[in-house]
């Protein structure tokens, strides 16, 4: 069960992730955060995989069906860089996670107080990585999406 406010915020947050994904070009996904940090593709993997990781703790059947955006090679996680694939999985993740949370009778094994707080935590996690992803673009000389597009969805824009 999810409150109306958290559902609205989740939908706003989904729009912002889409703004970022629509802005990206194949060259940008390899841009790396300064200080040997994540690449843009690795930030996207964090954003998209973490809701699934926690989501398995309350609906393994539905959320386990979301495709993984990584492969493991020599014990290392290699993030997907195909933007078409990333966008598809992003859309599925946003919809399925919200549907699963709305339909859930209990929080299952989630380490959060309730499903609302799981979703808020995931939005906070997204925002942290979006902030770093934008710096990865900036420091590598790529253009940024406009501030209005990145923040507007929170304000009914």
């Amino acid at each position: 069960m999810v409150s109306d406010s958290v559902k609205e915020a989740w939908q706003d947050n989904t729009k912002i992730n889409k703004v970022i994904l629509d802005h990206l070009t194949p060259e940008m996904v390899h841009a790396r955060t300064p200080g040997e940090g994540f690449t843009v593709a690795e930030h996207l993997l964090e954003i998209l995989h973490t809701p699934k990781y926690f989501g398995l703790k309350f609906n393994e059947e539905k959320l386990g069906a979301i495709p993984n955006l990584y492969e493991v090679k020599d014990n290392e996680y290699i993030a997907e860089t195909d933007l078409g694939r990333i966008r598809e999985v992003a859309q599925q993740t946003a919809v399925d996670v919200l549907e699963a949370a709305e339909a859930a009778d209990s929080k299952g094994e989630l380490p959060h107080t309730n499903l609302d707080m799981y979703l808020i935590h995931m939005m906070v996690h997204d925002a942290h990585h979006r902030g770093q992803l934008l710096l990865a673009l900036k420091t590598n000389g790529f253009p940024l999406p406009s501030e209005d597009l990145v923040w507007g969805p929170w304000k009914n824009q």
């Binding site: 808020i120 902030g131 929170w154």
Partner: protein
Amino acid sequence: MLSESVKESWKINTRINLNLLGHLSSDMLVAQSSGSGHTVAQHLVHMIDALKFWGQLFDKPRFSTIPDLADPQVEAIVPIADLDLATLRKVMEESRDLALEAADVDKDKGKLPYHSIETFLIHIIAHDSHHRGQIVLALKAGGHPLPEDSAIWSPWRIG
């Protein structure tokens, strides 16, 4: 009237901001994100200013009491000359407490361009997180130690 979930999330977010501030030393305030980004001090001042700016749209009497830590007439964020960590910690904590109090009693979202006061608070929580992510990178770029992951992420989990 706020839901318990949003109220608890707000308190967790405040605790994380204070954990981050507790990690900082004065010399870290001038660390700057790569690409001529904001300094740590500018990020923190902006986080406080954003809450004040939007909060005034639904409860001007309360939110206007939050001190300006940068010149409000200048578009660029220019922190006040004597800004120190103690002031940042005090204003961060007091402004967050004041916002929770206002959001809990105010029933009308006034001129806020959000669905509700609750979504406004969730936006501010996300906005803080965006800037905390960039603060961590500024610290890293400046060769400073980073806060423990547990200080930034564990408060979201029970136990």
